[in-house]
Amino acid sequence: MLKKGFISGTAVILLLIFISGILACYAVGIGPAGIGGLEAFQALCNHFVPNTFDVSAMTHTVVVNIRAPRIIMANLSGFGLGICGYAMQSVLKNPLASPYTLGLSAAAGFGAALAIVLGIGLLSSQYLIVGNAFVFSLLASILVLGFASGRNARPEAVILSGVAVMFLFSAGITLLQFIADPYAVQAVVFWLIGDVGRASWDKILIMVLVICLVTPFLLFKSWDIGILRLGDETAESLGVRVSLTRMGVMAACSLLTASVVAFVGAIGFIGLVAPHMVKLAGRGSELFRLLASGMVGAILLASSDMVALTVLAPNILPIGVVTSFLGVPLFMFLIKRGKQPK
């Protein structure tokens, strides 16, 4: 029963948070600087309660300003991509819906490339690339949702206009790469690959604010998101404002995914795979599935980052590559295992 399922769902969420915490504790001791887990732990303690342990300034800097933000950003980004992936797939009734489908990633990439290649941007200095990526990503979602709203926000209108916008911005990126010098091309490619190492505390603060804004809204709308699965007409007849709900959820997801891709780049697959893992793993209320998708996304991205840091240490692999290499076999296994309806 759902009520019983909800209670066990809470236990599952707590378990996922616990796993995420364990991974974070382990990850803080990983990195090319050769600082072990114990030393990293001491540096963190020192940060919160000064002079508890004798820790060098370099260790303190590496742990507090590089590793901790990296781990937190990986978890926040994974959570954002996972929860938005689930919400997008549900309201668009399409299992392939993700930030890629709506062209948000391509638009963010174009914004970043514009800043890297031509130095054009809305914000100055250190926020030139991030600001551009964010603004263009939001611009893409406004384009897509604006176009779709004229067609009663029908899922196919959202997806098709998203794909069109994706091709538009991808072409823009190609054009910029065509005219750019080799170093700029390299920088654009590096940005497009995605990297949680770009994290900093101020970016984390913004991310936390956006997540705190978007997540309660999605949870509040969770039942309506589930009712849309019965069909638009049925949902409408049950008092759900279908177009408003779809546009609201898409706008909220656009804001969150725009923040994620602006800060860490176009990390693929998490937004697609995390919701499917939750769906394939079992049943549960929409509220549980949203939260679980977020937590699975966080765990996937955080563990992918750990692998990226360790597998060819001291070199760091692009995290987007690792998420796909790790996620695809797991995903295929789950599809093969395919939970059949009973």
Binding site: M1, L2, K3, K93, F220, K221, S222, W223, D224, G226, I227, R229, L230, G231, E233, T234, E236, S237, L238, G239, V240, R241, K279, R283, S285, L287, P341, K342
Partner: protein, 260 residues
């Protein structure tokens, strides 16, 4: 609650319309809407619950004009089962029935909502299926689950758009028997769009035949299902024989073909 429809009109921008349709369905009664494809049956049904905005005319539930109601209030009073089955059937039966409680809640179901959903499943003899996915049920069972949803919704009026579509004879009878039981026991007023003339004759208190968006005939089954009306509306020849006071239609041949 009674539902009274006064001169409802609606036009699609390209083609198709319904024109000045009026009817009244009393609580505990079933009215079947018949008519050829494209005659405006589903459009009429959608105008009743404002899925489509009527160009003119009024619909009253009890003494209240639905045009002045909030969507939520309308959803509390009127249940609707569309023609197509739910597109995503990876939902448990209990969850699907629970969704009927949406108009009565703010954002998520509470204990009373769960109790009412379980009660609806028990009343519809579906409780043993509560944990099953919709995808694993037969078409007839899915329709009964959707009816249980309307029961949990505590709707006073039920609109059903071809609920017996794609069902075998046994399940068709089962679904219509359930609608009849709901009308008799819960005092629901039901408006059912159908294609099967004999099934309509058997379960309806009143039949409305639409043709080109207008009422071609209306009244009790025996008065409406006549060879003349069927020839006029469907362009087919038929003979009617009565059994236990109910008309039975035997379709013979297309009128045009006979004329040739």
């Amino acid at each position: 609650m009674n539902i009274k429809v006064n001169e409802i009109c609606f036009s699609y921008p390209d083609s198709g319309r319904i024109n000045l349709i009026s009817t009244e369905v009393k609580a505990g009664e079933i009215t079947c809407i018949l008519g050829p494809n494209g005659s405006g049956k589903s459009t009429f049904l959608k105008c009743l619950n404002r899925l489509l905005p009527a160009a003119s005319g009024t619909v009253y539930i009890g003494s209240e004009d639905i045009g002045l109601m909030s969507k939520k209030k309308l959803a509390c009073l009127m249940g609707y089962l569309p023609q197509e089955p739910p597109p995503d059937q990876e939902i448990t039966v209990l969850d699907a029935v629970l969704m009927g409680r949406r108009p009565h809640t703010l954002w998520r179901p509470g204990k009373r909502d769960f109790d009412l959903a379980r009660q609806a499943l028990t009343n519809m003899h579906l409780f043993h299926l509560a944990d099953r996915m919709l995808a694993s049920l037969s078409g007839g069972e899915v329709q009964r689950v959707m009816l249980a949803r309307a029961l949990a919704q505590e709707a006073k009026v039920l609109l059903l758009d071809e609920p017996t579509n794609n069902l075998d004879i046994r399940h068709q009878l089962g679904v219509m028997r359930t609608v009849r039981d709901l009308a008799d026991t819960v005092n629901l007023a039901a408006i059912v769009v159908m294609h099967d003339l004999n099934l309509s004759a058997r379960f309806a208190d009143k039949i409305l035949i639409l043709s080109n968006g207008e009422i071609a005939a209306a009244g009790i089954p025996a008065g409406v299902l006549t060879s003349e009306n069927i020839r006029e509306v469907y362009k087919v020849e038929s003979s009617i024989y009565m059994e236990n006071g109910l008309p039975h239609v035997i379709v013979k041949e297309e009128t045009k073909r006979l004329a040739n």
